[in-house]
Amino acid sequence: MNSPALAYVARRILSLLPVWVGISLLAFALVNLAPGDPAQLILLRQTGELPTEEAVQRLREQLGLDDPFPVRYGRWLADAARGDLGTSLRTGEAVLQALLDRFPATLLLAVAALLLGLLIGIPLGTLAAARRDSGFDHASRIGVLLGASIPNFWLGYLFILLFAVGLGWLPVAGWGSWQHLVLPALTLAVGGIAGLTRLTRSTVIEELQADYVRTARAKGLPERAVVRHALRNALNPIVTLTGVRFGRLLAGAVVVETVFAWPGIGKLVVDAIYDRDYPTIQGFVLFTGTVFVLLNLLVDLGYAWLDPRVRLTGKGNGGG
């Protein structure tokens, strides 16, 4: 990597600081504005009944929830700067540890779903573009429509019924072996496959109408090679979509994690939101914010790798 590119990367990483402060402040304000008292909920979970106001007040004092908003935010920010994201109000675990414990499961699911999407979506879209208006193209478009429309949870149940209950090939839910990964990854991948197929088809069709393709064909280049060239030039929007989708997957797939009892961070944060577990919500926002910024950076680096015309500089977002 040349020095302007290195400067660019350094600049992007530095830009994380204001992002962290901004999103954490926003998240802190939002969760504090939401109705509900974490102390009341902690006691409610332990007894099943709304607790006495005296017990709630005692716990609020113990948790420091009675301090003014700026004091609590300042305390949280100071701790976060030292790498301490606090302790979960619900579980008593260190938030950073809870996120790190669950992130591998989320990463695994996200990578598997993304790879399935790429390995199926790009070839399907390319083939549909190369055989535009053929029976295959029409069939793939119907498949894309279905894939994009079917809700995740329903598809998940369908896969469980077929592959676990009916055929007995795969486990219903849980985690612990590669077999456990298949159904949630497939469920999560279907939407991605649909999106990538559609995008690849349209961008490759656009490229196939370009002048350089006409020239290549006129010079007698085999159609397979022509399509390969067109695909290479169509990859930039696909990389963008992949980056965005991967970011979303890394932020957790709540529905799929719930249906398949997959211990990822999506379910963790939804439970935290239900329980008004402020430190966990804060930690999650910071964590996923960082992941998004870094992924965007990787996508930008990917552009330069895929397209030699793109140059990264320390002064802007890269350009031609």
Binding site: P35, Q40, P51
Partner: protein, 516 residues
């Protein structure tokens, strides 16, 4: 051109992930007497504020209490062999002498001191107890003194939140109890594993091991049972009972009702939630709801119509004293007419230009349909119930606390043997509970509840509780009991000996075995 060598890292990553994924190492094995139970979401993760693992709401039978709540709601000895009231709010308990904790240390009075103190500190002890409530008389005798008169203590101590753990152990991380199962492993949100306690003082468990696996999604639990992945599924959704019953390898077991569907009425609200101060309106609401239809159509017969706000068995022979309010919409209309609420053009009643509009809240855990059902029933007599669906327990609790409602449809459980538990929770004005502010009328009802708590004889406690409930349901219509709901369990046909407890949190597992 994308060269094929660029796919090598992808292939490497795939193989790495496949290898890494296999390393999870689930605790379950195929031991002969192992049962895998599909439980709901993990609601009691470790470490938080004195919490105890495997106790509430999922009881793994690791801990035991001084008294036991039998499935017929009788209170029986468990770690205490007997007890007696000594006067001055003090109970004396005589402890079982042949009991060992799972770590081999003997069960003594000191364990009761530390465990009750921990329950009180954690805020999940029922009853007026202070941290120093327990005084050691000798190694196997203790006195427990309540801060207020409370002679229902032996009935209350059967609640699993009063489980006794070894002194110095940390029940939030690794509970060391005296129960028929000992703690083996816990992975938050994934599983709890317990094994048979070979030194159990009572009848030994027939199972060697139970794996409680958490499946937050109810449909997935059912599918796991049908796929043979688990032997036992807790809390089957009512709509999936038929599918399980049609399956040759599984069956459905129902508990006697232990969970009550009650409609609580806000009698002390500020405008616009001030209408239900009028007992005629409250009675009209009670008369307008067809409990039979609710049970038959909405809950597919998997519940019972009830007259009392709590499990009848807990009131003993006095349960019949509560009559409830029978469905009679004509009478409801007459009452509303008499109260000056006349039907408008759209059928909704009004009085002096004020429409008869009530805000109905439902507990977020209640399945859909019940809110609409109550709304539709009230609409038939001219009451416009606006059902406010709240997304989670936090918003629901906050709205209740603020009193911004007229009707609250909720599902309380009777988890101990105290007949005054539910009346004392919401209908006793000095309970300190936020909801008592909106539901409790004070006066004679308070006196009845207090008298029930001061009655040394449990039978008198039941009689006074029945009288308090009769007043709350029949006379004052503070609450409209609708149905008692059974817990539904899906069992593989290889599972035997399961006796469902109406209070799920007191469920025993020691009698269960699996045919392999």
């Amino acid at each position: 051109v994308v060269r094929s060598s660029r796919f090598l890292p992808v292939l490497w990553l795939l193989s790495f992930l496949a290898a890494g994924c296999g390393g999870g190492g689930e605790a379950a094995t195929s031991a002969v007497q192992e049962m895998v139970v599909a439980a709901g979401a993990d609601l009691g993760p470790s470490g938080a504020f004195q919490a105890r693992l495997g106790v509430y709401p999922l009881n793994t039978n690791v801990g035991e209490t001084l008294t036991r709540l039998a499935p017929d709601y009788r209170v029986e000895p468990l770690l205490a062999t007997r007890w007696e009231y000594r006067g001055n709010n003090t109970w004396r308990f005589f402890l079982r002498q042949d009991v060992l904790f799972h770590d081999g240390t003997p069960f003594t009075a000191q364990a009761v001191v530390s465990s009750i103190a921990q329950s009180v500190r954690g805020g999940f002890a029922y009853g007026p107890l202070a941290e120093d409530a327990v005084v050691v008389i000798d190694d196997h005798t203790i006195d427990i003194t309540t801060t207020e008169p409370n002679l229902r203590l032996p009935e209350q101590l059967g609640h699993p939140n009063f489980s006794i753990f070894a002194p110095g152990s940390d029940p939030a991380r690794h509970p060391v109890g005296t129960g028929p199962f000992r703690w083996v492993d816990y992975r938050p949100y994934e599983w709890i594993v317990v094994e048979r306690n070979p030194r159990y003082w009572g009848e030994e468990s027939r199972l060697d091991r139970i794996v409680f696996r958490f499946y937050p999604d109810a449909t997935t639990r059912t599918l796991a049972l049908l796929a043979g992945e688990v032997d036992f599924a807790m809390d089957l959704p009512r709509e999936q009972v038929t599918a399980v019953e049609r399956n040759g390898s599984a069956r459905v077991v129902r508990s006697p009702p232990g969970q009550m569907l009650n409609l609580y009425l806000n009698i002390r609200g500020s405008p616009p939630h001030d209408l239900l101060g009028d007992v005629r309106l409250r009675r009209a609401i009670a008369l307008s709801i067809d409990r039979g239809q609710l049970v038959r159509q909405l809950w597919r017969g998997e519940a019972e119509e009830v007259r009392s706000l709590t499990v009848p068995a807990v009131l003993g022979r006095f349960a019949g004293r509560v009559n409830g309010v029978a469905h009679d919409p004509q009478q409801a209309r007459r009452l509303l007419d008499g109260a000056g609420w006349t039907p408008g053009a759209d059928g909704v009643r009004a009085q002096n230009d004020r429409r008869l509009r009530l805000i109905l809240l439902t507990h977020p855990d209640l399945e859909g349909g019940i809110g609409e059902f109550v709304q539709a029933q009230l609409r038939q007599v001219g009451i416009d119930a606006q059902w406010v669906r709240l997304p989670d327990a936090a918003s629901y609790a906050e709205r209740l606390r603020a009193g911004a409602f007229d009707l609250n449809l909720t599902l309380p459980n009777q988890n101990d043997g105290d007949p005054l538990f539910l009346p004392g929770l919401l209908l006793y004005s000095r309970s300190g509970r936020p909801l008592a502010r909106w539901h409790a009328p004070g006066g004679r009802l308070d006196s009845l509840i207090e008298a029930g708590r001061q009655a040394p004889n449990p039978v008198d406690g039941q009689r006074l509780a029945a009288e308090a409930i009769r007043m709350a349901v029949d006379e004052e219509v503070l609450v409209v009991p609708l149905a008692g709901r059974s817990r539904l369990y899906g069992l593989s046909r290889t599972v035997n000996g399961f006796e469902p407890h109406p209070s799920q949190t007191n469920q025993g597992w020691a009698s269960v075995w699996v045919d392999r």
